[in-house]
Structure formats: structure tokens, C-alpha cells
Amino acid sequence: MTLNSKALKLAGLAVLAAVAIAFPYVYSSPVDTNYGVYAMIFVTVASAWNIFSGFSGYISLGQAVFFGTGAYTVGIAARDWHVTGTGVFLLLPLAAVSGAVMAVPFGLIALRVRRHTFIVITIAVFFIFQLMAADFSFTGGTMGLPAPFLPWQAATFNNPFYFMALGAAAVTITLAWWIRRSKFGLQLRAIKDDEDRALGLGVRTMRVKLSAFTLSAFITGFMGGVWFLYLTQVLPSSGYDPLFDLTIVLMAFLGGVGTIAGPVIGALLIEPGRLYLNTQFTNGYLSEILLGALFLLIVLFVPRGIVPTGGEWIRKFRSRGRAAIEPEGRGAAWTAEARGRQGTSDGRRLEAARRRESE
């Protein structure tokens, strides 16, 4: 990467940050900022999912366990300890910890198996939690729990939540970026490629997987707490919502699993769209039907996601048959080699494009 493209990237990030911060001042109506809050919540939880599932290849459909637990933890603690007013925000770290605490036994059981079996177990654990929330009395049963009243103006009620979620999103994205290139992240990605080989290189794979799982649960639990205070109530079916899991997985797949920008783009595209459909059509099933259709389209046409595939298209369009990577910088050596072997250069080009994308 040249210095120029690095500066360009930083400038781009600065613009994005400025736009994100300015958003609630430009679109200040609560209807608009509501979109912002939900979008940022989902950017965060989708990125948290990506840190574990995207990097390790273990597709978790049980993230709602942590989200719901975070929400319920804040609700129960506020109720039992009589926390009122803005003091409830001090309970958010507890929501994060409760998510992480759930992830340890959950992970120790589920992470012993791989692929489809792992996915099925995460779904099973998810339903156990949903049933428990409905059946126990300390969770408020099917009535759920209300959040303490916040004495804020209705016109600007959403703004603190927006900035809280935006901050969490920024931290999570930075964390994902940093982990991806750390030794921990490399080991996670090695597990995705060939777990047994990683084990044979001394990688304590269980510990690595469990750490990532717990970290993603920590973040997701925190966001569950934020969401609960924002919505001011939690029900077994809303805190432990199967659509929550399907949605974040869809977001990550749409944007590009395992990339940093993928889950962010996916969340920014899907969540506002879903909210819009739900408010425009009182029949709430329409957005679900469309989500399902979208999933099929993604699997058929962009199975690797917008970020990797889109990057390829752009490069193909730009290069129009010439070598996709300009022979400059560190990529030069192999590009020359790839040119020498026109027959096989296509596959190499794809690999290289994918790598560029992920950087």
C-alpha cells in the first residue's frame, strides 16, 4: 500500500466519522434518529459476530443469548437494586459481563463440535434461553421487564443512545481491525482454514475460539443493555429473538464475512430498510419475507459478500482484461509471474483481489 492510498483511507474514515457525528443534528427528528440508533446497534453486534464467527468460520446463531441476557441483566438489576434515572447506565458494564459469563459454559459445550453441528447447538441453546426467560418468575415471565423511566425530552431522547451506540460501534470496529492482524486474529483465521493443522502448530484452538466467542458475547451483551434502556422494555420474544441472529448473519454475509467493512455495510443497508418496511406496512411479516428473499439472492449472486465481490468488479472494470493489479510496490514480483502464466492468472487474480480487499 502506498502512502497516498493510506492517507486517502484515513481521510475517508475522517469524513465517515464526521458524517456519523453530524447525523442527529442534520436529521434531528426522533423518527430519523431512531433509524440511526438501530443502525448503530446492529453495526456493533454484526461486527462483534464477525470477530468470532467471521474470523473463525464458526457460524453462531446464538448471539441473541448474549443480547437478551444483557437486556435482562440491566432490567433485573435495576428492579432489584432500585436503580432509577440515569444511574441505570452504570449497569451497562454488568450487561456486558453477563453476556461474557454466559459465553463461557456455552462455548465450552458448543465449540467442541464444528460446522453444522455447531450451528444447530447454538440454535438449541438460544431456545433454552428464550424458554427460561418466559418461564422463570424473576425475569417477569411472558410479561417481560420494563426499564426505569428516563426524564429526558422526547425530541432529543434518542441522541444519547445514538452516540452511545456510535461509540460502541467505533470501538468494536477498531477492535475487529486490530484483532484481524494480531497473532490472536491470525490464529482465528488459521482455524477457519484448517483447525487441525493449527492445533498441530501448537495453537491452543479451544482457548482461542472461546476467547473470541466470549469477547463477541461481551460486546453483544453490552448492546443488549443499551437496546433495553432505549426501547424501555424487554420480552422473552424480543430479547431472545431468532430473527436477531438471522439478521446479523445476513448483514455479515451481504457485506462480506471476515472483512472489517462487510458487516458494517451490511448492517447499514439492512437495518434501516427493515425498520422502514415495518413502519410503512403494519403487516410486520413483509420485511421478514423480503429478508428471506434477500438471503437467497445473496447466496446466489454474491456469496462472498459486497466487499470482496464488489472490489473485484471494480478492478475488473478498471483493468478491462489487463493485469488486475498494477505492477508496483510489493505486489510486483508475483504479478509478473502471474502474467507469465495467463492460463492460471485468473484464479490468482481473484485471490490477490480478495487479499487486497481484506487489508
Partner: protein, 236 residues
């Protein structure tokens, strides 16, 4: 010379098939030991048992006097045994340099690049490992085993499916590691030229048992070896 790695009476069955039958093998410290035998004689199974990828039904594995029988692959690696696979297993979606940083006990990027330099693929460090040729993958596998500085290195067919030039390069690196860094090697290989040229001692495995072992020249003419390779009752 004392043995650094040895097995005692390893037995391993898959269903009704006895892949290893009372298999005892010694690898002397600082040696390059070859392990040969016909297809299906249990060479790779023995590798798997030593490195924790398969559990022995009976018997024991020792490394420097320490019993490591049926330890998990990560523990075996951290105890000081590195291995490569017959069909190379690298991490294709990571770059070559990133591959080098996956193992436990790595010593940073600089050291990793030195190892890549040593095996001769440093100029590919920035490309995806999945784009390497088969022979280059073998070299990468050797290199990332080296980063953790294991005492014993097990190579499963390092010359299999590799072009002659690269075979020479691989053999050269093995010999140099043995000479200058005192690395101990146990090598499974069908390329007899490769084995006979590199190894001071060769063990022959047949039907899961070590039927002969000794210097290459003696092994070459041992009737039991010829039996194992060419079938019983063949006149030589």
C-alpha cells in the same frame, strides 16, 4: 548416540485393520532417519500417533525421556516435535508471512522472514499462501514448523509430487538444518534416491511393524526389505 524420540510397541487398529502392530522405532539425536515401507504399511499412521492426531491402542511414545503418548497435537508440538503432512496443509487465505506467525512460540516477523529466506520463498512473503505452487507449499510448511524451533521434525513425503530442482533444494535445506542447527529428522519418503542420499539410518515398516533398520547400504540389500517391497518369495 542416544535416542531422542522413540516408540515402544505402538498398536493401532482401524476397525478390523491393524495399521500398527507392536511398532517400536528409535530416532537418534541429531540424526536424519528415514522411514520407508510399501503403501499401507502404517508410516503415516505412526506419524499421526506420534504427533497426537491419532490415539494409540497400546504402546508408548517418548521424547527425550518424557512420555508423550496420546498427548494432543498442540502439546506434542509445544514439547518439541514439528511435522509436515503428505498433502501439504497450509492456511491458503492467509499470506505466506501470516502463515509463519500462526504457530505458538514464534519469534516475531523478522525471525519469520529469516526462515522464509532460508527455505527460499521469502520473495513470496506478501502473497496468499493459496497461490503458492505445490513445492513452495512444502517449503512453507517446513518453514513454519521451523519458527518454533522444534527438536525433532517429522516430514511426510517432503519430495512427493515436487519437481527435481525443488527436491534438491528441499534435501539441501534438511541437510543444512541437521548439520548447522543439529535438528533431528524422521522422514517418510518413497523417493529412494532422496532417502538413501540423506539418511544415516533407515527403518523399514511392513504391515505395521519395523522389520529392519540400519544404514542405507545394508537396508538396500536386506532380503526382508525386498520382501516387503516386492512381495514374498521373490528371487533376487
Amino acid at each position: 548416540m542416544t535416542a531422542l524420540l522413540w516408540t515402544e510397541g505402538i498398536t493401532k487398529s482401524f476397525g478390523g485393520v491393524r495399521a500398527l502392530d507392536d511398532c517400536s522405532l528409535e530416532v537418534e539425536e541429531g540424526s536424519i532417519t528415514g522411514l520407508i515401507g510399501p503403501n499401507g504399511s502404517g508410516k503415516t499412521t505412526l506419524f499421526n500417533v506420534i504427533t497426537g492426531y491419532a490415539k494409540a491402542d497400546a504402546g508408548a511414545v517418548y521424547l527425550g525421556g518424557r512420555r508423550i503418548t496420546n498427548a494432543s497435537p498442540d502439546k506434542v508440538f509445544n514439547a518439541g516435535i514439528g511435522r509436515t503432512f503428505q498433502l501439504t496443509r497450509i492456511f491458503p487465505t492467509l499470506t505466506v508471512l501470516e502463515n509463519m506467525l500462526v504457530p505458538s512460540k514464534t519469534k516475531g516477523k523478522h525471525h519469520a522472514l529469516e526462515q522464509l529466506e532460508f527455505v527460499g520463498i521469502a520473495r513470496h512473503h506478501d502473497q496468499l499462501a493459496g497461490t503458492l505452487s505445490y513445492g513452495q507449499r512444502k517449503l512453507l510448511e517446513l518453514a513454519y514448523v521451523l519458527v518454533a524451533d522444534p527438536a525433532v521434525i517429522l516430514l511426510d513425503e517432503p519430495a512427493g509430487g515436487v519437481n527435481p530442482t525443488l527436491i534438491g533444494q528441499i534435501a539441501g535445506r534438511i541437510a543444512e538444518l541437521n548439520r548447522t542447527r543439529r535438528k533431528t529428522f524422521l522422514i517418510v519418503e518413497h523417493n529412494m534416491e532422496f532417502v538413501m542420499g540423506l539418511c544415516a539410518k533407515v527403518a523399514v515398516l511392513d504391515a505395521g511393524t519395523v522389520v529392519a533398520s540400519g544404514p542405507p547400504d545394508i537396508i538396500r540389500t536386506d532380503p526382508r526389505v525386498l520382501d516387503a517391497y516386492l512381495g514374498v518369495d521373490v528371487d533376487v
